[in-house]
C-alpha cells in the first residue's frame, strides 16, 4: 500500500518546520549584518503562511481527518488550537525583536558561550554580535507545539513534546541581563524537563505494554474490551499524565515555574506562558479524552484534586513576591489549574466517547483565548516597564505609574481586573463558563474552592493596582512611551479582552464548529 500524506492539511506543520530548517541555513550563508532582518522576515512569513493554511483548512468542511498515517488528528480542535498558537507566536515574535525598551539592545545575550562578565563577552558586546539563532529555535519549538497539540499517537505526542522543549531549554538561558540567573533557570528547566520527559516516555511504554499499540484509537479500543483492572494501564495513565502536567506546570510539578519564568528573557517567558501551555494542555485533553476516556472514573477525581491544589498553590504563592515576573509566574500556575477544570468536567462517558467533549473543548478554547490575551498583554507591559528600569521587573518600576503614564496604567489595570475576574472582562466570562461546567458535572466543591482562591489571589492583583494608581511615583517609575509594536500589541490585547468580556458568546461562537475530537 502506498502511504498517503495529506500535504494540504499538514501544511501549517510543514511550513513551520521547513522555515525552521531554512533559518539554520540562513545562519550559515547570509552575512551577519543581514541575518537579523532576513530571519525576522522568514519567521513572520512562515507563521503567517501557516496561519493562512490553517484558516483555509478551517473553512473547508472536508478537511477533518486523521492524517499522516494516523500520527496527527487534524480535527476541529487541532485547527482551533493551531490558530491560537500561531497568533500567540506572532505576538511573541513582536516581543522577541523588541529593542526600544532595552536601550536599543536585544534582550538576548551577544555570546551565549562566553561566561558572564568575561572578556569574550565584552568583545561580543562591543562588536554588537547577536544570536539570530533564536529565530530558528523559536520556529522549531513552535512546530513541536503544533505537533504536540494534534498528536494522535503516543509517539507523535512524545516527539512533539521534545521538539517543543529542547529549543526552550536553550532559549531560557540566553538573557542579556542577569545572565547567571538565566543560566541557572535554563539548567533547572533542562534537568527537571528531561526527568519529566523520561517519566512521560515511561508512561508511554507502559501504555504500549498494556494496549499493544501507540495509536490512540487502538488504546481506546483495548480499554473498552478490558475485562478486569489492568494495573499496567493505570500506571501508564498516571505517568504519562504526570509528564504532561510537568510541561504545564501543574501541582505537584509546579515548583520550577517561578524560577524559570523569572530567569528567562521576558519574550521567552511569554512564549512559555502562552504557547507551551496551550499546546501541553491540549495534548493532555486529547490524551485523557480520546485513548483514556473510558478510564474517566479513575482519573477524574484525582485530576479535580490536582486542579484545586494547583489553583491554591498558585494563589498563595502569588501573594508574597515583589517581582512582577514572579507574580505572573504564580498567576500562570493558578490559571493552569483553571485550564484543568474543563478536562475535569467531562461528564458523560460511553466506552471512550465523552459526550461532553463539545462543552469541555469549547470552554477550554475560550479560556485559552482569554488567558493568552491577558498573558501576552501583561508580559508585553512587563517587558517594557521592567526593561526600562533595568531592575529585573521589580515592583518599584510600577509605583505611581498612573500619574506618569495613565494609558499604560489603565491597560495594566484592565489586565489585572481580568485576572481577578471582574465582570466586563474576559476573565469573568471564562471563569463563569468553567465554573458552571465544573459545578454541573458534580464538582461543586471544586467550583467554590476555585472561587475562594480567586479571592485570595485578588489581594495580589489589588496590590499592583494600588501601587500603580494610589502611590506616588518613585525614581524608578517607568516614564516613557513604549515602542510602537509593543503598544499596538498591548492595546489589541486589552480591547479584545474587553470584547471577550462583553460579548463572550460571539467570541465562543468562533469555535462552535471546532469542537469534535476525532478518534
Amino acid at each position: 500500500m502506498v502511504p498517503v500524506i495529506e500535504y494540504l492539511l499538514l501544511a501549517p506543520c510543514i511550513v513551520t518546520f521547513g522555515a525552521a530548517s531554512l533559518s539554520i541555513l540562513v545562519e550559515a550563508v547570509v552575512v551577519r549584518r543581514l541575518r537579523f532582518p532576513v530571519q525576522l522576515v522568514l519567521s513572520t512569513t512562515a507563521i503567517i503562511t501557516a496561519l493562512a493554511f490553517t484558516v483555509r483548512n478551517w473553512t473547508s468542511a472536508d478537511a477533518r481527518t486523521i492524517a499522516a498515517l494516523g500520527a496527527l488528528a487534524i480535527d476541529g480542535p487541532a485547527m482551533a488550537v493551531w490558530v491560537l498558537l500561531l497568533l500567540s507566536a506572532l505576538a511573541v515574535l513582536v516581543l522577541l525583536v523588541e529593542r526600544a525598551s532595552n536601550n536599543g539592545l536585544s534582550a538576548f545575550t551577544s555570546q551565549a558561550s562566553a561566561p558572564p562578565g568575561s572578556t569574550e563577552e565584552n568583545v561580543a558586546e562591543t562588536t554588537r554580535a547577536e544570536h539570530t539563532e533564536i529565530f530558528s529555535l523559536f520556529l522549531f519549538s513552535l512546530s513541536g507545539m503544533l505537533l504536540l497539540s494534534a498528536a494522535s499517537t503516543l509517539l507523535s505526542a512524545f516527539v512533539g513534546c521534545e521538539v517543543m522543549s529542547l529549543p526552550l531549554y536553550l532559549l531560557v538561558g540566553l538573557a542579556r541581563r542577569n545572565r547567571t540567573l538565566s543560566q541557572e533557570a535554563a539548567l533547572k528547566y533542562f534537568l527537571l524537563g528531561a526527568t519529566a520527559s523520561a517519566v512521560f516516555l515511561y508512561g508511554i511504554a507502559l501504555l504500549f505494554g498494556a494496549a499493544g499499540s501507540f495509536d490512540y484509537a487502538d488504546i481506546a479500543a483495548t480499554i473498552s474490551k478490558m475485562r478486569s483492572d489492568n494495573l499496567l494501564m493505570y500506571a501508564g495513565l498516571g505517568l504519562s499524565t504526570a509528564g504532561l502536567l510537568f510541561k504545564l506546570g501543574a501541582f505537584p510539578f509546579h515548583a520550577w515555574v517561578p524560577d524559570i519564568y523569572t530567569g528567562a528573557p521576558t519574550a521567552i517567558t511569554t512564549f512559555l506562558a502562552t504557547c507551551a501551555k496551550i499546546a501541553a494542555v491540549f495534548a493532555l485533553l486529547r490524551l485523557l479524552f480520546v485513548p483514556l476516556g473510558a478510564l474517566r472514573w479513575t482519573w477524574q477525581t484525582p485530576l479535580a484534586l490536582i486542579a484545586l491544589l494547583t489553583i491554591a498553590f498558585g494563589a498563595i504563592g502569588a501573594l508574597t513576591p515583589r517581582n512582577m515576573k514572579r507574580v505572573l509566574a504564580y498567576s500562570a500556575i493558578m490559571n493552569v489549574g483553571f485550564m484543568l477544570l474543563p478536562i475535569v468536567a467531562a461528564s458523560t462517558v460511553q466506552t471512550g466517547t465523552l459526550v461532553s467533549d463539545f462543552v469541555s473543548v469549547s470552554a477550554l478554547l475560550f479560556h485559552l483565548t482569554v488567558y493568552a490575551l491577558m498573558t501576552l498583554g501583561v508580559f508585553a507591559l512587563t517587558l517594557w516597564v521592567g526593561g526600562a528600569s533595568g531592575s529585573n521587573s521589580n515592583f518599584d518600576a510600577w509605583r505611581g505609574l498612573a500619574r506618569r503614564n495613565p494609558l499604560l496604567a489603565a491597560m495594566m489595570g484592565i489586565f489585572m481586573l481580568s485576572f481577578i475576574g471582574i465582570p466586563g472582562t474576559g476573565g469573568f466570562a471564562s471563569k463563569l463558563l468553567l465554573l458552571t461546567l465544573v459545578w454541573r458535572s458534580g464538582f461543586a466543591w471544586l467550583a467554590l474552592g476555585a472561587l475562594a482562591f480567586s479571592f485570595v489571589v485578588a489581594g495580589c492583583y489589588l496590590r499592583i493596582i494600588r501601587l500603580m494608581f494610589l502611590e506616588p511615583p518613585a525614581d524608578l517609575t517607568c516614564a516613557t512611551q513604549p515602542s510602537k509594536g509593543v503598544s499596538v500589541l498591548v492595546s489589541i490585547c486589552a480591547v479584545l479582552l474587553l470584547c471577550c468580556g462583553l460579548f463572550p458568546s460571539q467570541v465562543a461562537d468562533i469555535f462552535s464548529n471546532m469542537i469534535g475530537l476525532l478518534r
Binding site: L417, R440, A447
Partner: protein, 506 residues
C-alpha cells in the same frame, strides 16, 4: 422609534463622566451638576412614562448563560434610582469642598476634574444595578461600581486613604466573590433544568432543590450582608469612612451600600423564598444584633462620620429585619426605609462633613458651643439627625412604623426588641448635638496653634442639605404616595416572593 429611556438614565452619567473630564474649574463642576440633573430628569421622565408605557428593555446578551441585557423600572427600582440621582447631585455640588486634607501628606494628588467624573461613573453604575432585571447584568454593575468608589476613596481623603481604599475593595471583592459563587450555582441549576435564563422573572419560577436553595441563599445573603453591612461583617465600613472624604462616604454609605439592601429584597428573598423562610429566625437575630450594636456603637463613637456609619449599620439591620419578618407589609416598609435611609444617612454624613470642614472638628469633644459661630450648621445637623431618628413627619418614621406593624403581626417579641434598638438613635442624635453645639464656644482638646476659624455652612451647602431634608419631609407627610408606588412593583419578583412566602408560610 422606541426610545430606550431606562438605558438613557445610566448612559447619560456614563458618557457625562468622559465629557466633563477636559473641562476645568467651575465649569467642570457646573457640567457635572448639569449631567447629574439631566440624569434625574431622565429618571423622572421615565417615571412619568412608566405610568402609561411599559419601559422594560430586554435583549439577549450572553446566550450561553441565558443572561439578558434587561432593565426594569418598578416602584422599588424607580424610587432608589431617583434617590441615587438626588444624592449624587448633592455630592457633586459640595463634595470637593469637604476635603479633609490637613497637611501636605494627605493633600489630594489627583486633579479635581477626576472627582466629578468618578462620582458620575459611580452614579451611573449604581443606577444600572438598580435597573438591572437580570442576575448577571446586576452583577456586572455591582462589581464594576466598586472601581470608581475605590479610586474616590484612594485619591481624596486622610493620610491613610490608600490603606482604607484597599480595605474597601478587598471586602467588597469578598462580597463579589460570594455572589459570583451564588451566580455560578444559579446558572448551573437553570442550565440543568433546561430553561437557561438568568432573567429575574424566569428565575423566580425555578424550583431549586432544598439543599441547593439553602446553599445559594447563604452565599447571596453573606454577599449582601457584607455589602450592607450587617454586624459581624461591618468592620470595614467604619474604618473606611474615617479616612475617606465625607462626600465620598455619603455616596458610599447612602447609594452604594443601598445596593445591599435592595439586593436583599430582590435577590435573596426574591429568588430563594423557601430558604428565606428556613433562615428567617437566625437572620432576624443577626438583624436585631445589628440594630442594637449599631446604636450602641454610635453612642460610643467619637469620630463624627464614623458615628454616622454606625447609624447606617443600625439602619441596615432594621431593613434586613423588615425583610425577613416575611410579611408583605414589613417588606414594603423595609423598601421605603431603604429610600429614607439613602437620603437621610447621605444627608447626615454630608452635614458631618460640612461641620468637619468648616470647624476642623473630626471628633466629638474637639470643640463645643459651635451653635454660636455656626447657627445654620447647627440647625441642619439637628434636623438631619431628627430625620435619621426618625422623627414623625419624616419619611423614615412612616417606613419604620410600617415595618414594626408588619413585624408585629408575626414576631411581636422581635418587634419589641427592634423598637428598643431604634431608641438608641434618640440618644446619639441629641447627645451629639449637645456635645457639639451647646454650651459656650471654646477649644477643649485641640491645643494646636493652627486652629481653623469656624465658619458657617455656605449657601450652597445649606441649600443642598435643605433639599434632601425637604424630600424626606415631603414624603414623610404623604408616605402613602411612595408606599403605594413601591407596592405596585409588579410583576417584579418581590410580589412573587411575597406570595410564595404567604402560601408556604401559613
Amino acid at each position: 422609534m422606541i426610545v430606550p429611556w431606562l438605558t438613557l438614565i445610566f448612559v447619560v452619567p456614563l458618557f457625562g463622566a468622559a465629557i466633563v473630564l477636559p473641562l476645568r474649574g467651575a465649569r467642570n463642576r457646573l457640567a457635572g451638576l448639569i449631567i447629574s440633573g439631566l440624569t434625574l430628569a431622565m429618571a423622572l421622565t421615565a417615571l412619568l412614562l412608566s405610568q402609561s408605557h411599559n419601559l422594560a428593555e430586554q435583549v439577549l446578551w450572553l446566550r450561553r448563560f441565558g443572561a439578558w441585557y434587561a432593565l426594569q423600572f418598578d416602584g422599588l427600582s424607580a424610587s432608589l434610582v431617583i434617590a441615587t440621582a438626588v444624592l449624587s447631585s448633592a455630592v457633586l455640588a459640595i463634595g470637593l469642598e469637604l476635603d479633609t486634607a490637613t497637611d501636605a501628606t494627605s493633600a489630594p494628588t489627583m486633579r479635581p476634574e477626576v472627582f466629578t467624573s468618578l462620582v458620575l461613573l459611580t452614579e451611573a453604575l449604581v443606577i444600572g444595578a438598580f435597573l438591572a432585571a437580570d442576575l448577571v447584568l446586576f452583577f456586572l454593575f455591582f462589581e464594576v461600581s466598586l472601581l470608581p468608589v475605590y479610586l474616590l476613596i484612594g485619591y481624596w481623603g486622610g493620610a491613610c486613604r490608600a490603606m482604607a481604599a484597599s480595605r474597601f475593595l478587598m471586602f467588597s471583592l469578598a462580597s463579589g466573590f460570594l455572589l459570583f459563587g451564588g451566580i455560578v450555582g444559579v446558572v448551573t441549576t437553570v442550565s440543568t433544568v433546561g430553561r437557561s435564563s438568568t432573567l429575574l422573572s424566569a428565575l423566580a419560577n425555578v424550583e431549586f432543590t432544598p439543599g441547593m436553595e439553602r446553599l445559594l441563599f447563604v452565599l447571596f445573603f453573606m454577599a449582601f450582608a457584607l455589602k450592607g453591612p450587617l454586624v459581624p461583617l461591618h468592620s470595614w465600613l467604619t474604618a473606611v469612612v474615617k479616612e475617606a472624604n465625607p462626600a465620598v462616604s455619603a455616596l458610599l454609605i447612602g447609594a452604594v451600600d443601598a445596593l445591599g439592601g435592595y439586593a436583599m429584597i430582590r435577590f435573596t428573598l426574591g429568588l430563594f423564598p423557601n430558604a428565606a423562610l428556613w433562615a428567617a429566625p437566625g437572620v432576624l437575630v443577626i438583624a436585631l444584633i445589628s440594630i442594637w450594636y449599631g446604636g450602641f456603637a454610635a453612642v460610643g463613637e467619637r469620630h463624627l462620620v464614623s458615628m454616622a456609619s454606625y447609624t447606617s449599620i443600625s439602619h441596615f439591620g432594621f431593613i434586613v429585619f423588615g425583610i425577613f419578618t416575611l410579611t408583605p407589609t414589613a417588606i414594603n416598609g423595609a423598601a421605603m426605609y431603604l429610600v429614607a435611609h439613602l437620603l437621610s444617612v447621605g444627608a447626615l454624613v454630608l452635614v458631618c462633613g460640612v461641620l468637619q470642614q468648616s470647624s476642623g472638628v473630626a471628633h466629638f469633644g474637639d470643640r463645643r458651643g459651635l451653635r454660636q459661630r455656626a447657627p445654620a450648621t447647627a440647625a441642619l445637623f439637628l434636623l438631619v439627625g431628627l430625620a435619621t431618628l426618625p422623627l414623625p413627619g419624616f419619611l423614615g418614621f412612616a417606613a419604620e412604623l410600617q415595618v414594626l406593624v408588619g413585624a408585629g403581626e408575626r414576631h411581636p417579641i422581635f418587634a419589641l426588641f427592634a423598637v428598643i434598638g431604634t431608641l438608641f438613635a434618640t440618644v446619639y442624635v441629641t447627645w451629639s448635638y449637645q456635645r457639639l453645639f451647646t454650651g459656650t464656644h471654646k477649644l477643649d482638646m485641640s491645643p494646636t496653634d493652627a486652629v481653623p476659624t469656624v465658619r458657617d455652612a455656605t449657601t450652597i451647602e445649606r441649600s443642598v442639605i435643605a433639599v434632601l431634608l425637604l424630600l424626606l419631609l415631603a414624603f414623610g407627610c404623604a408616605p402613602q404616595m411612595l408606599r403605594n408606588y413601591i407596592a405596585s412593583a409588579e410583576p417584579g419578583t418581590t410580589a412573587v416572593a411575597i406570595t410564595n412566602i404567604a402560601e408556604g408560610g401559613e
